[in-house]
Subunit: 192 residues, 2 copies
DNA sequence: TCAGAGTGAGAACGATCGTTCTCCATCTCG
DNA sequence: CGAGATGGAGAACGATCGTTCTCACTCTGA
């Protein structure tokens, strides 16, 4: 039983529970039971609940970043790579465990009372915007396109979470097509 | 001291506190002190904390709906009314007390454990989408434009909340201009 | 074999939560 | 004036939280 294997299982279990029920609703005892470790080992690996929360956020950031980038790399050209962002969202929204962006949720729950959480959520979103800006640059698009697409992606996440459907991904993708084609200088073909 | 005046003060105080610190972080005693009422009177007006939460959500829905509609009515033509949505957001984001959409936040905090809250948040967002669809219809735009603009507005709210700046309102508005003009059949003039 | 370090299960602790109850001062109305 | 209703301040209650402690048990190494 590797020592970091225990850490990983704790963080993975906390990630699932926090996503499903919210952070404040999940006590250390519930996490202990679900992860199958003793309370002593739990506090041996993490000094406090808030350190577990930060570890979960780091895990989420890595998971999101890698998943998105893997999907983007499947696309053939720069324009398709921009749209791949929304294909990634579509797949995510169909996951049964999808309950909205974990950073938006943790910011809503703890941002006001935990500067650590608020700052990490801000950095995560900033990192995403930089990633989009990088893709926009590769496509030869103007700088203003990146925040527009980022806002579309954020809105799709909250809309899908609250509505409980995956429709928002496709709707945001169609909007992205219009914004991208307009920004890249092509003329948009109006529907008849 | 009117009996409903006390109710209104309790709900208004709860709204401020819940917005500033999150719902679960604000105890009944803190609310009691801030509202300047006795615990007895508080429980005389509301049977439980969750009923106060629902009253706050109703207040937020009414305030949001009225504020948005008032701003929209200032606009001269149907296209300007669609853009007025984002002007309303811009003003809201500049408010010092802005900490994101209260429905997104309450859904993130309580949606998983309170079906009442989740359902009310869903209804609020649905109501907003219907409102946008009504404005789109008046402008002669296609049905698909409404969810696109709604998603933009949602994304602007979360982006502004987490980033801590009001930039997202203007960026979303520019994107809305492109989407609206494309949907209304005008040709978008590409920047040189 | 046996001292000693580490483990697991869970009791215990202090704090805080939502909610109720107690006590007493104040007002009303005849 | 005086009995009864009302309301305020806050103590009290049971539950639950994050965290620590107890204690019996199991390995290890010379």
């Amino acid at each position: 039983m590797d020592i970091s294997e225990v850490r990983a299982r704790i963080v993975a279990t906390a990630d699932e529970l926090y996503n499903a029920k919210g952070i404040q609703s999940v006590g250390m005892d519930e996490l202990r039971t679900a992860a199958g470790v003793s309370l002593k080992k739990l506090y041996q690996e993490f000094p406090s609940k808030s350190s577990i929360v930060m570890a979960v956020l780091e895990r989420r950031h890595q998971s999101w970043t890698e998943g998105l980038d893997a999907r983007v790399r499947l696309a053939a050209d720069p324009r398709a790579r921009l749209l791949a962002i929304f294909d990634y969202l579509a797949g995510w929204f169909c996951d049964d465990s999808f309950r909205g962006c974990g950073f938006i949720n943790s910011f809503a729950e703890l941002g006001a009372i935990s500067p650590e959480v608020a700052e990490y959520a801000r950095e995560h979103k900033e990192s995403f915007q930089h990633y989009v800006a990088h893709l926009v640059g590769d496509a030869g698009g103007p700088a203003y396109l990146a925040p527009q697409l980022s806002i579309l992606a954020e809105g799709a996440q909250t809309t899908a979470a609250i509505a409980g459907t995956a429709d928002a991904a496709g709707q945001a993708r169609e909007a992205a097509v219009v914004l991208i084609d307009a920004a890249l200088g092509k003329e948009a073909a109006a529907a008849p």
